[in-house]
C-alpha cells in the first residue's frame, strides 16, 4: 500500500511539474516537487530508503523525459541518501529543520545535475546555474516544505504512507 501510494504521489507530482507548475514560476523557476517528496521521505525513513526512493522517483522522471536516462535518478538518489543521513541527527518533527535540510539538499542535488550536464557537453554558465537555478529552486523548495512537511510527516506515520504491520 505504502509503495503504491508513494508511486502515485510521485506520478502526480511529476504531472504537476510538467503542466500546472509552469504557471507558478517564480524568478524563472518552478519548484521540484518530486525532489521534495524524495527529501521528505529521506528525512523520515533514513538513508537506505531515501536513496532507494530517490532512485525510483528520478528514474520515473527520466523515463517521462525520454532521454538522459539516469540523470535525475542519480541526482535524486544522492538527495534521498543525504536527506536520510540527518534522520537521527536532527529533530524530525521540526518544520524549520526540515526546510533547512530541503534547502541544502536541493542545492547539492542541483549541483550534481549541473556536473553531470557538464560531462554531457551541455554548458550552462556557472553564474547562471547558481543564481538562476540552484539558489532559487532551493529557496522555492524550502518555502514549499514549510507548507507540506507536516502533512507528509503525518501521512508517513499515521496516514496513507504508513507501513503496514502484519
Amino acid at each position: 500500500m505504502r509503495t503504491f501510494a508513494l508511486l502515485l504521489l510521485i506520478t502526480v507530482a511529476l504531472l504537476l511539474e510538467q503542466t500546472v507548475l509552469n504557471f507558478l514560476r517564480v524568478a524563472g523557476v518552478k519548484p521540484d516537487l518530486v525532489l521534495l517528496i524524495v527529501i521528505f521521505n529521506g528525512i523520515l525513513k533514513g538513508p537506505r530508503e531515501g536513496a532507494l526512493w530517490g532512485f525510483v522517483a528520478g528514474s520515473l522522471e527520466d523515463f517521462a523525459c525520454g532521454h538522459y536516462i539516469g540523470l535525475n535518478a542519480l541526482s535524486k538518489l544522492v538527495a534521498g541518501c543525504l536527506a536520510g543521513l540527518v534522520e537521527f541527527r536532527v529533530y524530525k518533527e521540526s518544520v524549520v529543520t526540515a526546510a533547512a535540510v530541503v534547502w541544502a539538499v536541493s542545492f547539492i542535488s542541483g549541483g550534481v545535475v549541473y556536473l553531470l550536464l557538464l560531462t554531457l557537453g551541455v554548458f550552462v554558465a556557472p553564474s547562471d546555474a547558481f543564481l538562476r537555478v540552484l539558489l532559487p529552486v532551493a529557496v522555492y523548495n524550502a518555502l514549499l516544505s514549510l507548507l507540506f512537511y507536516r502533512s507528509f510527516h503525518r501521512a508517513t506515520f499515521y496516514g496513507f504512507l504508513r507501513e503496514e504491520r502484519y
Partner: protein, 277 residues
C-alpha cells in the same frame, strides 16, 4: 587504521553503480537516436491526453487568476489582442527581412521564389519537468508527418526544432535551451552569427561569432539566416538587448530577447518540409 574489506567492497560497488548510471546517461542522449525509445514513446503517448487536459485546465485557471489580480484589466480579449500584435509585429519583421533580401537579390539580378512549405498547427501539452532543459511536448507526432529536426515557429518568430518524436507527440527543443544553436544574422547589417540558448527559464539568448568590426546596436533585429539548415531565412529570432565587446579575439557577444514569449506558448506551427532526417 586500514579500511575493512567489507567497506572497500561496498565502496567499489557504489562506484561501479555510479559509473553504469553515468554511462547510461551518455548512451541515452537525444542526439543518439532519431526516435524516442519504445518505452519512452509509449509513456508519452499514453500520458499525452491527461497532460493536455491538465495543461488546458491550468491555463484557464491561470487566465482567471490573472483577470482577478489585474482587477479586471487582463481579460481574454486583451490577451488575444496582445498575441495578435506580437504576431503582426513578427509578420512586419519577416516582410521587412524578405524585402531586404529581395533588394539584395535584385541587385545581383537573381530572383528567388519563396516556397510555401507545408505546415501543421500543434498545441503545447506539457513542458520538461526540470528547470535545466527548455523543451515542450506538442500534440502532433510521427502519424501527422512530424519528423526530427522540423522547424517550429509562431507568427512572432522562431520557437525551436523537433528533438524527438513518438506516434502522437513530439518534443520541441526551444531556442532558449542550452543545447540549441540557430544560424542567424542581424537584419539591419546582415552580420552572421550563431544564436545559442543560455538557460531554459531565462528570456535571454546569446549570439556568438559576431565579427567585432561590424556595428550591432541595442534594438537591432536578428533573424534566421540562409546558413541555417533547419529554418527558412528571415524568421525573427530576437531583438538585441546588450552588446558585449571582448577585449581580445575577433568576435563580440550579443545578447537577445527572444521574439516569441516562450513561457506563454500555446499553439505553434511545425514546418513539415524542414526536417533533417
Amino acid at each position: 587504521m586500514r579500511p575493512s574489506w567489507h567497506l572497500l567492497k561496498r565502496a567499489l560497488l557504489i562506484l561501479a553503480l555510479i559509473m553504469v548510471m553515468v554511462g547510461g546517461i551518455h548512451l541515452t542522449g537525444p542526439e543518439r537516436a532519431a526516435d524516442l525509445n519504445i518505452f519512452g514513446a509509449w509513456v508519452r503517448d499514453v500520458a499525452a491526453p491527461v497532460q493536455h487536459a491538465v495543461w488546458r485546465t491550468s491555463q484557464a485557471a491561470n487566465s482567471g487568476a490573472a483577470f482577478i489580480f489585474s482587477l479586471g484589466r487582463d481579460t481574454g480579449r486583451v490577451r488575444a489582442l496582445e498575441e495578435k500584435i506580437a504576431g503582426l509585429e513578427g509578420e512586419i519583421r519577416r516582410l521587412r527581412a524578405v524585402a531586404n533580401e529581395n533588394k539584395r537579390l535584385k541587385a545581383l539580378l537573381a530572383y528567388k521564389t519563396a516556397s510555401t512549405e507545408p505546415s501543421i498547427i500543434a498545441a503545447v501539452i506539457s513542458r520538461n519537468p526540470t528547470n535545466w532543459f527548455g523543451t515542450v511536448v506538442i500534440n502532433r507526432g510521427k502519424k501527422d508527418g512530424v519528423t526530427r529536426g522540423a522547424a517550429v515557429i509562431t507568427p512572432a518568430g522562431v520557437v525551436g526544432r523537433v528533438l524527438t518524436v513518438s506516434g502522437r507527440t513530439a518534443e520541441v527543443l526551444l531556442i532558449t535551451d542550452p543545447r540549441s544553436a540557430v544560424g542567424s544574422a542581424v537584419y539591419e547589417t546582415q552580420v552572421p552569427g550563431i544564436v545559442r540558448g543560455t538557460l531554459a527559464g531565462s528570456e535571454r539568448l546569446k549570439m556568438e561569432y559576431v565579427v567585432k568590426d561590424e556595428p550591432v546596436r541595442q534594438g537591432f533585429l536578428v533573424t534566421t539566416s540562409s546558413l541555417s539548415d533547419l529554418f527558412p531565412p528571415g524568421i525573427p529570432v530576437g531583438t538585441v538587448t546588450k552588446v558585449e565587446e571582448q577585449e581580445s579575439g575577433m568576435f563580440k557577444i550579443v545578447y537577445l530577447k527572444p521574439a516569441v514569449d516562450l513561457n506563454r506558448l500555446e499553439e505553434v506551427l511545425v514546418l513539415l518540409g524542414s526536417d533533417s532526417g
